[in-house]
């Protein structure tokens, strides 16, 4: 009952409000073109129906986007070049490869930083500084340079995702691996635990909550990296290429459909990591508030 009152009702109301507003704006924004097309003053009812069904509307109505999504996912063979499933898969695969590489790299870096004072003092400031830099700007260069060396396809995009996603993981893991209290570390010392034992029995378990939180950030940013990686180089497949093609040919419905596909994918990926987080933490006996 509290779920209904505190979650479903408010969120649902806001979502409905957004959809209503969207329709309103669709009518307002598309009306000039509809009038122009008709060549004569339209009665209000006709005007509204005309704005809902334009080929290239300024703002497509929600149902147009939904129809496009349905048409390009369910009604089309997934192997077709016009199917969003195909493009989503292209983007998703490089996202996942990049995310996996980035997470591993981030963890490895964090482990090295926690265990080496020199590395901590020399590398950590740069990791933090690099987060203030618009890293995404180098995406086009990575793609072109790797293509010049002969590496094309999935890997360059995955490398951009790797580059974007290893920062949050590294920073979060350094924090996490340092999170055990001094008292617990001292206890391990009194047990005469070796460094690997301290790591596996104390540091690693206490870092896991941090790891999952940063992985949620990392997976979202990996997707952004993969999409942007597809944009500037005239890639033919992927959601980013879909966005770019849509903007070249003025296919607004296609842009919105790709945008929604990307958003749904991001939400699902973040949710999956969230579920993995709560399952793992529950197994470890952590009680979530």
């Amino acid at each position: 009952m509290t779920f209904l009152r505190d979650k479903l009702l408010p969120v649902g109301t806001i979502v409905i409000a957004i959809v209503v507003l969207w329709y309103l704006f669709a009518v307002i924004l598309n009306a000039p073109f509809a009038r122009q097309l008709a060549g004569k003053p339209l009665p209000f009812g006709d005007l509204v129906t005309a704005t809902m069904s334009e080929q290239r509307p300024v703002l497509p109505a929600p149902h147009q986007v939904a129809a496009e999504l349905w048409k390009t996912t369910v009604e089309m063979r997934p192997t077709s070049k016009r199917s969003l499933v195909y493009h989503s898969w292209v983007t998703l695969s490089s996202t996942l490869v990049g995310f996996a590489l980035g997470t591993l790299l981030g963890i490895a870096l964090a482990v090295a930083i926690v265990h080496s004072r020199t590395l901590d003092k020399s590398l950590m400031p740069w990791i933090i500084t690099s987060q203030t830099i618009p890293i995404l700007a180098i995406a086009p260069m990575i793609i072109v340079v790797l293509a010049a060396v002969g590496i094309t396809g999935l890997l360059p995009k995955a490398l951009i995702s790797t580059y974007l996603s290893f920062f949050p993981v590294a920073v979060g893991m350094v924090k996490g691996l340092r999170s055990p209290e001094i008292m617990h570390l001292d206890l391990m010392r009194t047990y005469n635990a070796s460094r690997p034992q301290v790591f596996w029995k104390l540091r690693w378990p206490s870092a896991l909550p941090f790891l999952f939180t940063s992985m949620q950030v990392a997976v979202a940013i990996s997707l952004v990296g993969a999409i942007v990686g597809e944009m500037p180089t005239g890639a033919v497949a992927g959601l980013g290429a879909r966005l770019l093609a849509g903007s070249y040919y003025g296919q607004t419905v296609q842009i919105w459909a790709a945008l929604f596909a990307a958003s749904i994918m991001a939400a699902v990926l973040v949710a999956i990591v969230g579920v993995a987080r709560s399952v793992t933490l529950r197994r470890m006996g952590v009680r979530e508030a």
């Binding site: 020399s122 590398l123 618009p134 086009p140 072109v144 979202a220 952004v224 849509g246 607004t252 973040v270």
Partner: protein, 287 residues
């Protein structure tokens, strides 16, 4: 391998710097000034050694400039093409980023204050705001370019949308950061809503707000640069990057990236400095 001496020299410098850093980080300085100097020297030395290694590898192996230009090449280009870089900087940073950043953060802040007054809105908007923060919002760029044209307003619009939600979510979280005890105290002082907001809850929310401002400073630059990939007048950092990549003049791309990096770090540093002044009371700044 045509210039082994350069490569060997660079590697030697790197090893020396590493050894020096090892010594420095093991040192136990007596006073605080020395400790600060050492803590600053180590990353600087590390960065310099990486630059030297980069220079040594590109020169030593004769890596073609179209793959990876040496730092010295990039520096030359940076100095030589000052006016172009400045024009790009004005177009992208001073126009699109600053306008979008101010509008987006301001709108997010005001919305958060309205949302905070209405619990129903807070319950409804917060989950959506959190969700949107995780979405690839840059994808909105082609639509904004269609709506607002090629010039900087469309980039500013992308920046507004990208910065709005982090600000909203963080401010709402920050406004509930003031403790119940302090709020009760304000009640016993018979202070009204506005007084409680200005004198207690906003100051308590400042760490959260500055957190959002910092996140947004990076997001804003990314948004503006990526939006320029979708169409722009023939000036701007994103435009320059994508065209010069197409012409394979990578030293120019690196110079542009260096400008973006400096602009990003400086604005981040500036915000951190203001944060220190505003939230001097926060535990993380107490000494």
């Amino acid at each position: 391998m045509t210039h082994p001496a350069i490569l060997i020299g660079a590697i030697a410098f790197w090893l020396l710097a590493w050894a020096a850093n090892n010594r420095l980080s093991g040192a136990n300085p007596g006073n605080r000034a020395t400790a600060l100097a050492i803590n600053l020297a180590i990353p600087v030395l590390f960065g310099l050694s990486l630059l030297a290694l980069w220079e040594g590898i590109t020169r030593g192996f004769d890596v073609p400039k179209v793959l990876l230009p040496a730092p010295s090449d990039i520096w030359e280009k940076l100095v030589a093409s000052g006016p172009i870089l400045w024009a790009d900087f004005v177009q992208t940073f001073l126009k699109a980023v600053l306008a979008g950043y101010a509008l987006g953060c301001g709108a997010g802040f005001l919305t958060a204050i309205i949302v905070d007054r209405v619990p129903f809105l807070r319950k409804g908007l917060l989950p959506i705001g959190n969700l949107v923060s995780a979405l690839p919002v840059v994808g909105i760029a082609p639509i904004m370019v269609m709506w607002f044209g090629f010039d900087w307003p469309s980039k500013a619009a992308v920046v507004v949308i990208m910065t709005f939600f982090p600000m909203l979510v963080n401010t709402v979280a920050g406004l509930s950061a003031a403790g119940a005890m302090e709020r009760d105290l304000m009640r016993t002082f018979a202070s009204d809503y506005g007084q409680t907001l200005v004198k207690l809850r906003l100051p308590a929310a400042m760490p959260f707000i500055f957190n959002a401002l910092k996140i947004n400073s990076t997001l804003a630059l990314i948004g503006a640069i990526v939006a320029e990939f979708f169409g722009t007048p023939i000036v701007g950092m994103g435009f320059r990057i994508s065209t010069e990549v197409g012409r394979m003049s990578l030293d120019m791309v690196w110079a542009e990236i260096a400008v973006a990096a400096v602009a990003g770090s400086l604005s981040y540093g500036l915000i951190s400095m203001i944060e220190r002044m505003v939230t001097f009371w926060h535990p993380s700044y107490r000494t």
